[in-house]
């Protein structure tokens, strides 16, 4: 198993290098550069050119790429053109918020989606199946920004149960802590009041973000369980008198989750991308809204760093997914 993991991890390196090249080329081919905007309103063309040179935008592409590779090797992503802050620092401060949001959404999606998928499969082509299929698809199809605003209207405005926006109420400050996550750090610091406040702020964004994933997980679980139900061992199980409930929820489910686990892995990256919209509506201080800002202002260092980060997360999740596969289905182990 350890060898398998190591081999899998080594295989990620060329992928990341490929990603580095592809994104670097794409972003550098984009004509927009922030120099003109930085030079400001009364700038002379000479001033714009000076800023361009200062940013190294006037050098040939290969030279820029080599310089960039060197920086990445030292985990130095440079300073953002706009904020003048090290990109690595910005990301380190913002990543925990996005991970918090994404994990919460994934948790909601999995905890609800898997049982719903099983129920739909067991009641294949009867009304619970119909209903769940329609509802779960509706979840995918709902535009996140529309749903988010409706949830705000209902829960923050009309009922007043949950906060409208942000990560923490005005007047509260997140305690310093080792994780950077407000939820975990407030628990570690024993500040239950802050923990509760942060949790209340998390509910609406996480629910909004979870819906797309919920639908996907329900559908794949349903498909997997349906397929497994056709297998011979189910018939044997029934014949030897294994209780139906136990048969479905344990044996069938275990044999059906391969596709679902793959989907959860793929979803994680999708959720981080989906966070872009959700974060901006709820003003969640994560990397989603940070990326949008970078895209709109052509802040290439931020775009490169975020691309690499998402790539890395993807790679790690892929390795984890493969490990889970290997645990569930030992035949896959020696194939890499």
């Amino acid at each position: 198993m350890a060898g398998f993991v190591l081999r899998r991890a080594l295989l990620v390196l060329p992928s990341l290098f490929g990603l580095l090249i592809v994104t670097f080329l794409l972003i550098r081919m984009v004509p927009a550069d922030p120099a003109a905007a930085l030079a400001g309103d009364n700038a002379t063309p000479a001033q714009v050119q000076a800023i361009r040179e200062q940013m190294g935008l006037d050098q040939p592409l290969p030279a820029q790429f080599l310089r960039y590779l060197g920086d990445v090797a030292r985990l130095d992503f440079g300073n953002s053109s706009y904020s003048s802050r090290p990109v690595a620092l910005d990301i380190r401060e913002r990543l925990p918020a996005t991970l918090e949001l994404t994990f919460a959404a994934l948790l909601i999606a999995t905890v609800l989606g898997v049982p719903l998928g099983v129920i739909a499969a067991v009641h294949h082509n009867r009304w619970p199946d119909f209903l769940l299929r329609v509802l779960s698809v509706a979840g995918i199809a709902m535009a996140a920004f529309w749903l988010a605003i409706m949830l705000q209207m209902l829960f923050a405005m009309r009922l007043g149960w949950l906060p409208l926006r942000g990560q923490l109420s005005v007047g509260l400050t997140a305690p310093d802590g080792p994780t950077g996550s407000v939820l975990l750090d407030s628990l570690i610091a024993g500040r239950l009041d802050i923990f509760t406040d942060a949790l209340r702020h998390l509910v609406l964004p996480a629910v909004t973000l979870s819906l797309g994933g919920l639908a996907t997980i329900t559908r794949f679980t349903r498909a997997g369980v349906l397929e497994t139900l056709q297998k011979d061992f189910v018939g044997y199980g029934r014949a030897v008198g294994v209780p139906r409930r136990r048969l479905v929820w344990i044996y069938v489910l275990r044999n059906s989750v391969v596709a679902t686990v793959t989907q959860i892995g793929l979803l994680f990256g999708g959720l981080i991308a989906g966070a872009v919209v959700v974060e901006s509506i709820y003003d969640w201080p994560g990397i989603g809204s940070y990326t949008v800002q970078a895209i709109l202002t052509a802040d290439s260092k931020v775009m490169l760093a975020v691309t690499l980060l998402i790539g890395l997360i993807y790679a790690v999740v892929n390795i984890l997914t493969d490990m889970v596969h290997a645990l569930i289905d030992p035949r896959l182990r020696d194939e890499g």
């Binding site: 004509p31 927009a32 550069d33 922030p34 120099a35 003109a36 905007a37 930085l38 030079a39 400001g40 309103d41 009364n42 700038a43 002379t44 063309p45 001033q47 714009v48 000076a50 800023i51 200062q54 300073n79 706009y82 904020s83 003048s84 802050r85 090290p86 910005d90 401060e93 920004f145 605003i149 705000q152 209207m153 209902l154 923050a156 405005m157 009309r158 009922l159 007043g160 906060p163 409208l164 926006r165 942000g166 109420s169 005005v170 007047g171 400050t173 901006s280 509506i281 709820y282 003003d283 201080p285 809204s289 940070y290 800002q293 709109l296 202002t297 052509a298």
Partner: protein, 527 residues
């Protein structure tokens, strides 16, 4: 009463949306602003509207604009003198001002600040770089600052408030390598202003907290109960900001409230909309530097084809003032009785015929670039498209971003046929508008993206720039403006009315076009 199903659904929705709000989430004693913060807190690196909303509170300058229309008032300086040739400027400091860390603010800090602006060379520097060398800013004594300009520059005094004075010792202590302290000041406070940044409260582009600086040099006698704590939160979606205002969790939105939101805020009883005419002009640029808009008749045809009144009265609900010139209403140098171009499709058709006779073909579509984040540019383009279509002209809308447009305007060939933008007040001087928009030496910058070149206009603008006295400069700008309008360089549309949602618990609101009413020294919070 019998309801159709649609009416019932509408009612149910209205109940959900407009029913009594339970979430009265106002924070006692803290003013919550949703107009965000600059992407970087260093006033020498960024110069935009959010920065002005921040810097006017945290920093001070030698002079400051106040009231509407804006008046230039002595601030850290108590007075200034200028030599007859306009080259030597001497500012006398008021004395007694202190930075937030308690250190006295001296002429050395002023010199350091101006030199730092020039060294960094970003937005705030652009007015000064062509006329001021760092070594020519000096401090002969603790309360005197001298500037020796390379050449006379009329707008110099008007541009003085751009430079925020920073605490020289504090910044120098945080310099890394040759970065001039830019990395540190991006999230820190080295000011002397009425409010100071609460240490550790800054998340860039998301949030920061301010607290009142009791030791501010202007004192607090003109405000018996000032606000002690302010939370600045960046709200990215208009709808979130409006909802927050209506449930009390936000006290002030930004000053770009869409006109369609005004009515429901006014009706809400918990908040109001502050409406103030401002010096921000809205313009559709035409690229005079190449076909098709190097043709005067075509430009006139377009200028007559925009439905100015429809746009202002119907789309903006009257919250804007028609301005047929490139200068904002109410500024000196504005030509009296300027006529401009009106919406008249018959005239447009005539000019279009002439343009066609001169080679313009209806088959070639004209492209207009909008800033897709700014809904109003989109509406203006679609309205224009609709009218031009009735003349047989195909206007093609291209969704674009600021970063991309401001790169492409570097040359006439890559610059769009047309694009839409505002020109805000950075300093109150005609130079801020026509000077930098139509003098051909600025070609390659976004402000001069019409690529207009008229030697007569160039000469007038340059002469006006080299004079100091307003009464000598004004007639030159008037003449230049008339020439520019006769050449129908761009489609000039309106002068903005700024709209800001403000909670009814906030009192003492004052507006100035510079900073858009973001200054908080006079504000009060009712219980």
């Amino acid at each position: 009463m019998r309801l159709t199903r649609r009416e019932a659904a509408t009612l149910a929705f209205a109940a959900l949306v407009a029913g009594p709000m339970r979430g009265h989430a106002a924070t006692p004693g803290i003013l919550v602003r949703s107009d965000g913060q600059p992407v970087n807190l260093d006033p020498h690196q960024i110069f935009d509207v959010p920065m002005m909303g921040f810097a006017l509170n945290v920093y001070d300058g030698l002079y400051r604009y106040e009231n509407n229309p804006p008046e230039l008032k002595p601030w850290l300086a108590e007075s200034h003198t200028v030599s007859e040739d306009g080259l030597d400027w001497t500012f006398k400091l008021r004395g007694g001002a202190k930075f937030h860390d308690g250190a006295p603010l001296t002429a050395e800090d002023v010199v350091f600040s101006f030199r730092r602006v020039l060294a960094i060379g970003k937005a705030p520097a652009s007015a000064f770089l062509p006329i001021l060398k760092p070594e020519n800013v000096t401090a002969p004594d603790e309360t005197t600052v001298r500037f020796r300009l390379e050449k006379a520059y009329g707008p110099f005094l008007a541009a003085i408030p751009i430079v925020a004075i920073v605490n020289a010792k504090l910044v120098q202590a945080n310099v890394k390598g040759d970065d001039n302290g830019t990395a540190w000041l991006a999230t820190a406070d080295a000011g002397s202003g009425a409010y100071s940044v609460v240490a550790g409260s800054v998340t860039p582009s998301e949030k920061l907290d301010l607290e009142r600086f009791a030791g501010h040099f202007m004192g607090w006698s003109d405000n018996p109960s000032p606000i002690n704590k302010v939370a600045m939160r960046s709200v990215k979606e208009t709808s979130t900001g409006v909802l927050g205002l209506m449930n009390g969790s936000i006290d002030m939105t930004d000053s770009y409230l869409p006109t369609d939101q005004v009515e429901q805020i006014q009706a809400s009883k918990v908040a109001r909309v502050e409406k103030h005419p401002s010096m921000r002009t809205f313009i559709i640029r035409m690229n005079n530097g190449r076909a098709p808009f190097n043709n005067l008749n075509l430009r006139k045809a377009f200028a007559h084809a925009f439905n100015y009144d429809g746009f202002i009265n119907e789309i903006l609900k009257g919250y804007a003032d028609r301005d047929p010139t490139p200068l904002p209403n109410g500024i000196w140098g504005y030509p009296k009785g300027a006529q401009g171009y009106d919406y008249d499709l018959d005239k447009a058709r005539d000019y279009l015929k002439k343009a066609q006779a001169e080679g313009f073909s209806l088959r070639t579509p004209v492209k207009i670039h909008i800033q897709s984040q700014l809904e109003q540019t989109n509406q203006a383009a679609q309205l224009f498209q609709s009218d031009l279509a009735s003349l047989g002209v195909r206007l093609q809308i291209v969704a674009d971003t600021w970063a991309n447009i401001s790169t492409n305007v570097a040359a006439a060939d890559s610059s769009p046929d047309m694009w839409i933008h505002w020109v805000s007040t950075y300093f109150v001087d005609p130079e801020n508008w026509i000077g930098q928009m139509y003098d051909s030496q600025f070609h390659g910058t976004w402000k001069a993206s019409s690529f207009y070149k008229n030697p007569k206009v160039d000469e007038l603008l340059r002469r006006a720039r080299g004079l100091v006295k307003q009464e000598e400069r004004a007639p030159l700008y008037e003449e230049a403006t008339k020439l520019i309008m006769a050449d129908c360089v761009d489609v000039w549309i309106y002068n903005t009315v700024e709209l800001r949602g403000v909670s009814n618990r906030v009192g003492g609101y004052r507006f100035c076009p510079v900073g858009g009413g973001g200054e908080m020294r006079w504000l009060q919070l009712k219980a």
